[in-house]
Symmetry: none
Subunit: 198 residues, 4 copies
Amino acid sequence: MGGTMDGTRQRRRGDTRQRIQDVALELFAEQGYEKTSLREIAERLEVTKAALYYHFKTKEEILVGIFEDLTRPVDDLVAWGREQPHTLETKREILRRYEAALSAAAPLFRFMQENQATVRELRIGDSFKERMLGLRDILIDPEADLVDQVRCASAMFTLHAGMFVLRDLDGDPGEKREAVLEVAIDLVTQAHRGTGRP
Amino acid sequence: MGGTMDGTRQRRRGDTRQRIQDVALELFAEQGYEKTSLREIAERLEVTKAALYYHFKTKEEILVGIFEDLTRPVDDLVAWGREQPHTLETKREILRRYEAALSAAAPLFRFMQENQATVRELRIGDSFKERMLGLRDILIDPEADLVDQVRCASAMFTLHAGMFVLRDLDGDPGEKREAVLEVAIDLVTQAHRGTGRP
Amino acid sequence: MGGTMDGTRQRRRGDTRQRIQDVALELFAEQGYEKTSLREIAERLEVTKAALYYHFKTKEEILVGIFEDLTRPVDDLVAWGREQPHTLETKREILRRYEAALSAAAPLFRFMQENQATVRELRIGDSFKERMLGLRDILIDPEADLVDQVRCASAMFTLHAGMFVLRDLDGDPGEKREAVLEVAIDLVTQAHRGTGRP
Amino acid sequence: MGGTMDGTRQRRRGDTRQRIQDVALELFAEQGYEKTSLREIAERLEVTKAALYYHFKTKEEILVGIFEDLTRPVDDLVAWGREQPHTLETKREILRRYEAALSAAAPLFRFMQENQATVRELRIGDSFKERMLGLRDILIDPEADLVDQVRCASAMFTLHAGMFVLRDLDGDPGEKREAVLEVAIDLVTQAHRGTGRP
DNA sequence: CATGAATGAGGATTCATTCAT
DNA sequence: TATGAATGAATCCTCATTCAT
């Protein structure tokens, strides 16, 4: 049952908590939150279900842990954004950084996107919505033309969906990312035309 | 326990199947597919779980039924689109009609969007993906610039997400729909600039 | 697995709910509430655990059901007592009837006595306490001498404990019941001496 | 996290065993034995569950420890009683001393009373029953009238139940204790009338 | 058309206990 | 003296599904 003296066991010491989160995220992203059972997670880690409970109080807490660890960059981004002037360049920079954050934690964000109904009921649902609204408030100017507001929202959707839906489009991943970002930036830029702002 | 002679019961005769689908969709959209139990559906209809099984072979079949009933328009749209020349005007028309189809069956599409992980594992997952790819093939020109391909994809995301995410933006629903459609059409139009096509 | 054509199975139809309560009470009284698992109850009935849940929403509800069925007489007794004048004869009659009620549902009351800590946390705890206080208010005169108040309380304890603790004293059960009742009545009678009341 | 140099931690050294027992008894009495988990005890003491196992071999042993420490007086009482002549005065003295013992270890006896079903299955169940029978043999004369035997038993019930049930009766605790004792002694005294004994 | 009764599989969670350090 | 990490067995409960009536 699992390596004995070859280091496998050794290295497992102390990092079990992390390993649980890794495996859990993998399975959550693959099959969805509800369809992933703690039994499955435990089996893949070659530990017992009870071991999971040593590290996390509930199934939900496992997800919360992952979420908190991985979304800090977005948190910081929102905080940073709030303090910047709402110029076009700020918005572009927001999109660039946001794209980077999404890419860095792609599995989590894929999970969030594909399990919205579930996430909404969970503790993280609110935190997440708040972040989204934070970004929205920075990107969208409430006094702009409605169509331009939609353009900015659309820039976000593009980033979100682009990450995952474009996987089955062929082409170099790096190039695709760049293309997605370009379209998003373009949308925000167009939204700024006509306003007399910088 | 349900009216007797006042018509409530009467009208219920024969349309139970439909009523099941209505309630099911309502709950699926509200709470997600997995978190909605047959018990819940049955209770809300004031029938027994067994009654559901008289009308549908499995829980999944309930969803399949809803899906088939409500996505025929999209099916037809794809079929129609395939026979049209891939001109810009065709694409615009596709977007217009697609937007209309989404609006007409908003709860279902909201459900599909928020339960992607679940839907993927279900029988309807494939049908749905096929339709999506059908639309994509019409909207996206594989020989176009990558950025322009993304623009077309983005037009679809905008339609999808715009439907639901914009609900908490204030403004007249009709106007919002129009704005969303305009942005989508705009994206497709931009994607056509530069190509020497009509 | 249980008789097939000999009537055992037949008779089981329809009375499963009652059979669950019977077996449950038996086990609750024997081993305590917490130490009795639903698995055990189900096994003894040769049904599945899930069958129990068809008839009762929770483990606690099984007990609630038993309790409600079996304590109605005490309920009625309290109601009756409240409308009587607080004379000595009323009190004697209360004790007589209470003793009868306890005997009629001996296993339940034994259970209640031996699982007070558990019962207190359960939904029935309050109902039960209320009944007890109801009886107390009838039996105990708050203006009487403290010692006489204790005498009346003691009459109740005697009835309660007498039922069960005296099981291992030898002698005819009927005679023992009578003796217990006599002591209880005696206590109440003594408590009345000295008061100028009837 | 627990004082460091202020004496709190200091004083804790060495008396952990006692502190475990104190907290355990508190919780056992409050919630019952089964519903009190070692986790809970450990948490309240700000130690780990494993620490409990350093001091006690099992959960049951914690209770055994408490029991042995606190019931020695009753033990002694029984031993003393056995060597006395079975006179009325002896019985009165037994009741007086027993009442004192119960009061001194009220939480434990409250626990025993409210968790009879549990205690019966535990190792201490037998020891306890033995003590009770010891007292009974001293108080009850097997050749006496059945009613008088019940009177003596009732004296014990009164002491037991009086301790706890009378808590919500108002009045000075000291006076209540005296009243309870008086009733108990009275019962035993009455049981002696008619016998030609001293 | 629909129900009442039941099942089998599986869910998350909790517990007392162990043991190397 | 204690802890950190883990286990195995059990818990209550829920679910989709079945079938005789």
